[in-house]
């Protein structure tokens, strides 16, 4: 087999894995958009905030310590304990639920019935507030995310592929874990949406919130629930990306990777986020591999958007988005 084809296969597999990581971020956007029609600009910052909170809890960091020390003249930074990863994840989830409740109570409850652009602007405000709030709460230094996820080359895949092709493929263990978690997450979300009372209520609200209200579904509860689930998805994305790069403020920029996925997969489809992520991941990696060297490289950022735009031209609602029907 030609060497370049073998390399392309490795790039293809890594593209799939990268696509899963993009999809993890995109899922949060889809959930909120599907239930409330809000394009949540703050989803990337939510991932950052969740990751910061998780690491802060795990390391026993005193929240707002800089503020406390400045106000009281104290010098406290840590409680002196370490919280196990699993417990810290549960506690972080609790924080994300409180955040969801506050977002609903303080912001979106007052904006019911407003134009989508107003709601979008509100999420921009929320993003900047959360970024500053996270900084104030946990500090802005880079933190190490260590919840025990494996990282580095998968030796089994390396050996097997070496045996077949004479060249060992590189697949990151973290990417494999991310793929498994993303698959479980999607299955859980689909089951939740299709087979639970709350899930059906969520879909009813998504279809027509006034009709849902008329049959006794609490919009407030559903929206808090959706923002909480999106918070959980953000936490998962924050863990994965934070493990790769450390937890730091540029983590919020992962949202940029989710946008072409949403354009391609559709804003309202959970499977669409996954398939969109895979197409973007594979597309940008293969393009960089094949064409990148001819044009000086660094093609991935812009090519993902070009790919999404090409799909948009033929399917404006995205691959899996709800079909746009205009009746006259």
């Amino acid at each position: 087999m030609p060497e370049q084809l073998i390399f392309a296969m490795e790039v293809f597999l890594n593209g799939l894995m990268a696509g899963v990581l993009y999809a993890l971020v995109a899922l949060g956007f889809v959930l909120i958009y599907k239930a409330s029609g809000i394009f949540n600009y703050a989803q990337g910052v939510m991932a950052l905030f969740a990751a910061l909170t998780l690491v802060g809890i795990m390391e026993g960091q005193v929240p707002f310590s800089h503020l406390i020390n400045a106000a009281l003249g104290t010098d406290i930074h840590h409680f002196g304990w370490h919280v196990p990863g699993f417990v810290a994840i549960l506690l972080t989830m609790g924080v994300m639920v409180i955040l969801a409740w506050l977002v609903q109570k303080v912001v979106f409850r007052h904006l019911v019935g407003q134009e989508p652009i107003i709601l979008f602007m509100a999420t921009i405000g929320l993003a900047y507030f959360l970024e500053g709030f996270g900084d104030l709460m946990w500090g802005s230094e880079i933190k190490t995310m260590n919840v025990g996820l494996p990282q580095g080359m998968n030796l089994a895949i390396d050996e097997v592929t070496y045996g077949i092709f004479g060249y060992g493929f590189f697949i990151d263990n973290l990417d494999i874990v991310a793929t498994v978690i993303a698959a479980l997450l999607v299955v859980a979300l689909v089951i939740f949406a299709q087979y639970t009372k709350q899930g059906r209520a969520m879909r009813a609200v998504a279809d027509d919130h006034q009709a849902a209200l008329s049959v006794g579904i609490s919009l407030n509860f559903i929206w808090v629930m959706v923002w909480s689930v999106a918070g959980f998805v953000a936490l998962v994305a924050g863990i994965m990306w934070g493990t790769k790069s450390g937890v730091q403020f540029s983590l919020s920029l992962i949202a940029l990777k989710a946008l072409p996925v949403l354009m391609l997969g559709g804003f309202t489809s959970i499977p669409g986020a996954i398939v969109g992520g895979l197409i973007i991941g594979v597309g940008e990696k293969l393009f960089e591999f094949a064409i990148g060297p001819m044009v000086g490289g660094a093609t991935e950022n812009w090519f993902a958007y070009v790919l999404a735009l090409i799909f948009l031209v033929f399917r404006p609602q995205g691959l899996f988005g709800e079909k746009i029907i205009e009746r006259v």
Binding site: N14, A18, S140, E141, M153, F249, G296, E300
Partner: protein, 427 residues
């Protein structure tokens, strides 16, 4: 009438009398945004040194210093806004800690007569003071950094790099592209093969780049990165089992932030530096006593001795020494930006002076001149010890290859002079 005249005369005398204002040092910092983790320790070091001077020495030449901090968020537009909003307050020298902001400020500071100091960043050819009268980039620049790294590789390979494969992993921006020309020239001289691998901002996803490195198996990877790009690159290098001792960054890819997230796997990673590392210098005792213990530290006081804190402190020290020099040259303690420029252009840093400042062997001895605003271009190699979580120098400070760099500086500055119709010369 007499009373009126007397009052007017008194007023005129008061207006003419020199008012001893503070010496104003703006700090165009970034404590927010994606690059905050790098901006904060630098800004803290910069601020703490001026706080120390005020608390310990009563300022510079008896005049207190005043720090004007303005948040840029590493955003070029905000950086220019910061410049415009602070320049009227008697700002003596600007250090924007951003190549993008530097490029925007070069024509502005030249027109306004305010000096700009871009230590280890900015426009490299600004080392030619005959063209860039108000811009200084001593003691080292990007091209020195590239040459120093190649010198280190030469040393490791018995002086012969023929046939070696070297990859440059760089931030796909004006900053990241700076060393390309130098490395290309050096490759002609030393016979190594250079591969260029760009990483787009912010650099959170680098799978393609590291798969390429794994396929092409370069002997060494040089990195010109900043922010999250550095952390991801170190992690990905560890993932593909690239030998960390063959991975070397420029000084902006050589802070604790860059290696800590990868844990033990970052052990052995190297970076070139133009100042010393660690906190084993007497000046830090004074910082602790007069600044941190007094509750006046810019940050939490926990960054002392880190690479970027030291760099901020070093930048402040060089600014303070230039201000003292300006006071001496012009015979006045109350200096203007124009006088500060003169102080910078005639600055001489000796090891004896560094010892007096509590910073022995912290940075090079050098003398600035109109012809050379770039300083000596020296540097040393630092290596990360993951178990001790500290950097240590593994080489002495040595010189870069000016036989390659100087013609590049001359050519680039001449092109700038022609483009902007600047007549080369000394003030």
């Amino acid at each position: 009438m007499k009373l009126k005249l007397a009052t007017m005369a008194l007023g005129a005398v008061m207006a003419a009398a020199p008012a001893m204002a503070d010496l104003v040092f703006p700090s165009l910092s970034y404590r927010t945004g994606p690059y905050a983790a790098g901006g904060i320790p630098f800004a803290d070091g910069y601020a703490d040194y001026f706080t120390l001077l005020n608390a310990r020495d009563g300022g510079i030449g008896g005049v207190p210093t005043k720090l004007l901090e303005c948040e840029t968020g590493y955003n070029t537009e905000k950086g220019v806004e910061c410049y415009e909003s602070t320049k009227g307050e008697g700002a003596l020298v600007y250090q924007p800690l951003s190549t993008g902001i530097t490029y925007q400020l070069i024509p502005k500071v030249t027109a306004d007569g305010i000096p700009l100091h871009t230590m280890g960043y900015g426009r490299t050819s600004a080392a030619n003071g005959k063209v860039f009268s108000n811009v200084f980039n001593y003691p080292a620049n990007y091209w020195n950094g590239a040459s120093l790294i190649v010198n280190h590789l030469l040393e490791e390979n018995g002086g012969d790099l023929k046939g070696k494969k070297i990859a440059l992993l760089y931030h796909n921006s004006a900053y990241g592209k700076e060393p390309i020309r130098t490395l290309e020239e050096l490759s002609k001289k030393h016979g190594y093969d250079l591969t260029l691998i760009p990483v787009d901002h912010p650099g959170q996803e680098q799978k393609s780049q590291w798969l390429q490195i794994r396929r092409e198996r370069p002997d060494n990877v040089i990195m010109y990165g900043w922010g999250v790009m550095n952390q991801v690159a170190v992690q990905e290098a560890a993932n593909i089992r690239f030998p960390m001792e063959n991975f070397i960054g420029v000084w902006w890819s050589g802070s604790e932030n860059d290696v800590l997230p990868a844990g033990d796997k970052a052990n052995g990673y190297k970076a070139v530096t133009f100042h010393n590392v660690g906190s084993d210098f007497p000046v830090f005792d004074d910082i602790q006593k007069y600044v941190v213990d007094a509750g006046n530290a810019a940050g939490a006081g926990d960054q002392i001795g880190t690479a970027l804190y030291n760099r901020g402190l070093y930048a402040a020290m060089l600014a303070a020494e230039a201000a003292a020099n300006a006071q001496k040259i012009h015979g006045t303690a109350d200096i203007t930006p124009a006088m500060m420029r003169d102080g910078m252009e005639a600055l001489e840093i000796t090891e004896a002076r560094m010892g007096e400042l509590g910073m022995p062997n912290f940075g090079p001895s050098f003398k600035v001149s109109c012809e050379n605003h770039g300083g000596p271009g020296t540097g040393a190699i630092a290596q990360w010890d993951a178990s001790a979580k500290s950097w240590s120098l593994i080489s002495d400070f040595s010189e870069s290859d000016m036989s390659v760099i100087q013609p590049l500086i001359d050519a680039d500055s001449a092109a700038y002079a022609a483009e902007n119709k600047i007549a080369e010369g000394c003030k």
